[in-house]
Structure formats: structure tokens, C-alpha cells
Amino acid sequence: MNSMLSLTQTQRMLRHNRAAAIGLVILILFVLVAIFADLIAPYPPSAANSIDRLQGPSTAHWFGTDQHGRDVLSRVVVGTRSSIIVGFGATVATLLLGTVIGLLSGYFRVLDWVLMRIIDGLMAIPAILLAIALMAISRPSLFNVIVAIAIADSPRTARLVRSIVMSTRGALHVDAARLAGIGHVKIMLKHLLPGTFGALAVKGTYVFASAIIVEAVLSFLGLGLPPTVPSWGNIIAEGRLYFQIYPHMVLFPAVILSVLVLSINMVGDALRDLLDPRMKWE
């Protein structure tokens, strides 16, 4: 029984790593597409052509054209850039914000009570709704979308960092550092922060995936990026009006979005198994 179990475990790990490798390759491809979008896109993304309106997929237009005759493939390629920038920006901002709050809260007991009540309150509002509410009071722009997602997502990161800090705060090397007269800031950065890196790397991949989805959803609802910026959410939002007769405008960006999110999640699952066995499902 025992040897059988370890055999299936090994098989599972191998399969997981293969999935992670595939995920990583796809993710790198998406990043490359985002960087070289202008070179890859066969047409300028905003070039309207009233003769070629609303065409299905063809050799000239692989993903067809939209209601203005713009090439959907080119718009999807350039839209990759919006997704990657928002995903990356929001992840960095979320991790920074969450880590600072989590460190302070986990280290200073006085601050903890106040900060955790605020975090609890923010977490009671589903992240996507909080992001929608924040977009309601700001103009649609790349920067505002990143800020909205970061504010909505960071409470969960803060909780994670806090719990790790609280479990390492009492460790001997931390006590020793404190007795040696090392300042609070240095203790937090040099002795407590490194312990959170593994969990943060795992968290970061999931934040990256969810930020990309939230941006697409916000743009789809008309609350994200301005319509002039090609983004997958915007393309889908425009395409939905013609969906019943010309589904290609919605289906291509929708499937591409899912592929990107799936590849990030595959990398995230492997990272989780590798760095943070506590979070493992099995």
C-alpha cells in the first residue's frame, strides 16, 4: 500500500512538472507577444476598413474583423500587452501593499488590532465588487485599474504575510537580533521578510491570474480600460452586440484569455507544491 502510494505520488509530481513546463512556455510566449505586439500584429489595431466589416475568420484575417472592419487578431495581439501590463503592475502593487501591511500587523501587536479590523472589513466586500466600486469614483485608465485591483486584492496578501510573521516572530534568531539592539525596521526586513518569500511567490502567481481576469471583467463591463485601448475585455464588450451572428469577436479573445490564465495557474500549482507544501490540496 505504502509503495503504491509513493509511486502514484511520484507520477503525480512528474505530471505536475510537465504541466508546469507547458504552462511556463505558454506564459513566456504571451509575454513575448506583449513585448513585440507591434511587430507581430498583421495590421494596425485601430485601422478601420468599412469594406471588410464583420467578416468571419479567413486567411487574410485569421480571427475575422469587427464592426469597423478592424482586424480582430491584431487587436487581440495588442490587447495582450494591456493584460500583461495590468497583471504585472497589479501583482507588484498588491504584493508590496500586502507585505507592508502584513509585516507591520504581524510585528507590532498594537497596530495589529486596528489593521486587522480594516482588513476584515475590506475582505467582506468581494474583491471584484470593491474594484468596481473603486472604478466608480475614478476615470477609466490603466493606472486606475491597477490601483483598484491592488486595493481589492491586497488584504488577502496582508493576512498571509501576517500569519507567517506571527509564527516566526518568536523564533530564537529574531529574539537574538532584538537583544543585540537591532532596530525594528531592520529586523522586519532582514529576519522576518525572507520567511515570506516562498508563500509570496505562490500568492503572486494567483494574484497575477486574478488581476488579468478582473481587468478583463472591468473592461467588459465598461469600467476598466478606456475603449480606445485595445484590451481583451474591451474587444469582448464590443463583440457581444454582434455575438449571435458573428461570435468570433467574442470567442477568440475569450479563449485566449482562458489559455493565459490556465497557464499561469499551472505554473502557480507547481510553485505551490514546490515552495509551500502547507497549501497543497492533497
Binding site: T8, R117, I118, D120, G121, L122, A124, I125, P126, A127, I128, L129, L130, I132, A133, L134, M135, A136, I137, S138, A209, I213, A216, V217, F220, L221, G222, L223, I236, R240, F243, Q244, P247, V250, L251, A254, V255, L257, S258, V261, L262, N265, M266, D269, W281, E282
Partner: protein
């Protein structure tokens, strides 16, 4: 048990206090003058000044916050800028569709996920297990609106089994209701099916390796009885919690699903209100969603206690 219950209920108060502070700050931080917005384009300087005083907008932050909370607690959520109707009235009109969608989603996700998770646990390591777990990873990754459009494309546009858009209340036409709610509920449930199936699988695997399962098997009980009665009951604690967490997180997905399928519920109302800058409406809706989230978590905790007699001391 009573002390635990009271303590747990008491814990929701600071959470809701912070939520209301956040929700109120949203309006406070809004660029532009709410009085101008409410009075409309045609208002004169004097009208706006009068309205500002009438609404108490010239008062300091905490006075305004306290007044607002007092109004909300007495059931007065304000007036919608867009429709000029009381916010409570508009919400009452839209509440039904969202509740039906949520109920259908919970039923569909539980009905699909629990058997799938049990099957994956029972035939652990088999091809069946691998397929179910791969589907679950897929379920986590495909955003709700993508699922929604794929379902509409396959079942409404191509097969014409279901209407593309719209909602029929069950009181009006039961068959029409079932037809209009199936696809939205199915697309909303996908992520919860993924989540609940995983937890069910993990929890069942743990329970089925227990001594009492071996005893039951040695006693000659039918495997189906061991799985469904003995094991599932003991594995149900984390499953119930996950369903509770699922319902709470479903609130966010409702916004997207209702927009994709044109269901006139609270999620659609929120998007419409944000787009028309109807701030009293946005505030009330966020507050309501947060209250629902807090209450569902409270109910989950209480259920948890009822299922597990060990916690009932």
C-alpha cells in the same frame, strides 16, 4: 454554545462598521459635487447651495457619516439619482432575480461537485480521478463570462435549446424560468464545482482511510452505504464550509453573469448604477453585498457547529 454563538454574532459588528466606513468614504472621495450631480445640469448656484445644506454636505466628515449610518439603520437608504425612486424600492424590484440565480447555482454546483469529488476519491489515482481533477483545474481558470459565452454559443445559438438572454420569474412561467436560469446558473457554478469537488475529494480520502470505514467494510456493509452514509457524513464539515465560502464569493460572479445573460438582478443594477454615477445606489448595493457575505459566513459557522457535535459543548 450560546456564548460561542453570541460571541460569533458580536464579531460581525466591527466588520460591518468598517464596511460602512469604506462604503461611505466612496461617496466622500468622489470627484465632483454630489449636490451638483443630484440637482442636475439646469440647477442654479443657489439651488445647489440650498441642496447642499439640505443634504448636510456642508457638515464635517464624521457628522455626515453618523447621519448616514443613522439613516441606513432606520431603513432609509436614500434616493436613486438616476430613477428618483427610493433606493430600497429599486433594490426590492431587482432582488428576486439575483436570489433565484444564487439558489439555482448552489443547487447545481452541489449536485455536480459532491458526486464528482466522491467518485474521484473512491477511484483515487484512476483515469476518472485524473479527468475530474483536470476539469477542476480548468474550472478555476476559465473566467465566468468566457464560460457564459461558450454556453450561449453552443446551447442557445447553435442548438437553440435555451434563450440567449433574459429572465422569466418562476411565478410567471415555470418552464420559462428553468430555461432562462439554466445557462447562467451553470456558468456561475463552474468555479464552485471545481472548488467543492476538490475539497470533497480531499476530505473523503482522509475519512475513508479511517478505522471506522475498515470496520464497516469488515462488517460486510455495502460499499455504497459506506461511501454515501458513513464517509460522506464525516467528510461533510469542510464541504459545508466550502459551500458557504462559495456562496459568499458567488456574489462577485453574479455581477458578471447577470451582465452576460441580461438578467435584471442586483449585479446588473450595480453596473448600471456605476455607469450612470448613481452613488447612493452603488453605496447601498455594496453595503448589501457585504452584509450578505458576512451573514453567509455567520450561518456557515453556525451550521458547522450543528453538524459537528464535538463543537456543541
Amino acid at each position: 454554545m450560546l456564548t460561542f454563538l453570541l460571541g460569533r454574532i458580536f464579531l460581525t459588528i466591527p466588520v460591518m462598521a468598517v464596511v460602512s466606513l469604506v462604503v461611505f468614504s466612496l461617496l466622500y472621495l468622489t470627484p465632483g459635487d454630489p449636490a451638483q450631480l443630484i440637482a442636475g445640469e439646469m440647477a442654479t448656484e443657489n439651488d445647489i447651495a440650498a441642496l447642499r445644506e439640505q443634504l448636510g454636505l456642508d457638515q464635517p466628515f464624521f457628522v455626515r457619516f453618523a447621519t448616514w449610518v443613522a439613516h441606513v439603520l432606520s431603513g432609509d437608504l436614500g434616493t436613486s439619482i438616476y430613477s428618483q425612486l427610493p433606493v430600497g424600492t429599486v433594490i426590492a424590484q431587482r432582488l428576486g432575480a439575483t436570489l433565484w440565480l444564487a439558489c439555482a447555482t448552489v443547487i447545481i454546483s452541489t449536485a455536480l461537485a459532491v458526486p464528482a469529488g466522491v467518485a474521484a476519491a473512491y477511484w483515487r489515482g484512476s483515469r476518472m480521478d485524473r479527468i475530474i481533477m483536470a476539469m477542476s483545474t480548468l474550472g478555476f481558470s476559465v473566467p465566468i463570462f468566457v464560460v457564459g459565452y461558450l454556453l450561449i454559443f453552443a446551447f442557445s445559438v447553435k442548438l437553440k435549446w435555451f434563450p440567449v438572454q433574459g429572465f422569466v420569474p418562476p411565478g410567471e412561467n415555470l418552464l420559462g424560468f428553468v430555461r432562462s436560469i439554466t445557462l447562467p446558473a451553470l456558468s456561475l457554478s463552474l468555479v464552485f464545482v471545481a472548488l467543492i469537488a476538490r475539497i470533497t475529494r480531499a476530505s473523503m480520502i482522509e475519512v475513508m482511510s479511517g478505522d471506522f470505514v475498515r470496520t464497516a467494510r469488515a462488517k460486510g456493509l455495502r460499499p455504497s452505504r459506506i461511501v454515501w452514509v458513513h464517509s460522506l457524513r464525516n467528510a461533510s464539515l469542510p464541504i459545508v464550509t466550502t459551500i458557504g465560502v462559495g456562496i459568499a464569493n458567488l456574489l462577485g460572479g453574479v455581477v458578471v453573469t447577470e451582465s452576460v445573460f441580461g438578467i435584471p438582478g442586483l449585479g446588473r443594477l450595480l453596473v448600471e448604477s456605476v455607469l450612470s454615477r448613481d452613488y447612493p445606489m452603488v453605496q447601498a448595493l455594496i453595503l448589501l453585498f457585504a452584509l450578505a457575505y458576512v451573514l453567509i459566513n455567520l450561518i456557515t459557522d453556525i451550521l458547522y457547529m450543528l453538524i459537528d457535535p464535538r463543537l456543541r459543548t
